[in-house]
């Protein structure tokens, strides 16, 4: 079974600075998806960024980018120019590429605080 580990329960960063959230995972599959989700106090999970394992290029979405290291099974999220609205819980998640196995496996989460 796949597992996802986030080793940083809490992180904080000054507004406008850069912060990196860590995630490692374990799988025996060669094709899969990795995600970062944001969960504000409203509880609704919001997709931040997605990476397909077969793509070597790291995904980027505006101020959000990932460092995907397939051999090391590492998938970190970098947030540049942090904004107050970025404060939330962040979850790393894994999904198999196989049809019928598309449940998301989540890590324990990292609470991100933005200091003004």
């Amino acid at each position: 079974a796949q597992t996802v580990t986030q080793s940083q329960p809490e992180m904080s960063v000054q507004e406008a600075e850069t912060v990196t959230l860590s995630c490692t995972y374990d799988t025996s599959e060669s094709d899969y998806y990795l995600f970062w989700y944001k969960q504000p106090p409203s509880r609704q999970m919001i997709l931040v960024i997605r990476q397909e394992a077969y793509k070597q290029q790291n995904a980027t979405e505006n101020r959000f980018s990932v460092n995907f290291q397939k051999a090391a099974k590492s998938f970190s999220l970098k947030i540049s120019d942090s904004q107050l609205g970025d404060a939330a819980m962040y979850f790393c998640a894994y999904r198999s590429y196989l049809q019928g196995a598309q449940k998301l496996v989540f890590g324990q989460g990292t609470r991100l605080t933005i200091n003004p």
């Binding site: 609704q44 997709l47 979850f91 049809q99 196995a101 598309q102 449940k103 998301l104």
Partner: protein, 113 residues
């Protein structure tokens, strides 16, 4: 609707009561998922539907948990004889098909007292 809608937003149940949690997915979405999120933890998979077929229920923690989606749209998660350990946020998500982005609702926070 515009997004995944869950009701009620909050539910308090006495231990031993039965509860029913509702999920209205985005119209036309084939896939529907239920997750359980304990306080301070990441969500954990409960069950998955493709249209009205329940293809995976491996995450349901006991036979007190039951989910259905009879017409392939609205889904209900039922918990019988609730226990304190059932207290959690229950999240529903839907996606257009098996390989597309899942959209989440705001969840139902269940407190068993």
């Amino acid at each position: 609707g515009a997004g995944v809608s869950q009701s009620p937003r909050y539910k308090v149940a006495k231990r031993g009561q039965d509860v029913a949690l509702r999920c209205d997915p985005i119209s036309g979405h084939v896939s529907l998922f239920w997750y359980q999120q304990a306080l301070g933890q990441g969500p954990e998979f409960l069950t998955y539907f493709q249209n009205e077929a329940q293809l995976d229920k491996s995450g349901l923690p006991s036979d007190r948990f039951f989910a259905e989606r009879p017409e392939g749209s609205v889904s209900t998660l039922k918990i019988q004889r609730t226990q304190q350990e059932d207290s959690a946020v229950y999240l529903c998500a839907s996606s257009l098909d098996w390989n597309t982005e899942a959209f989440f609702g705001q969840g139902t926070r269940l407190t068993v007292v």
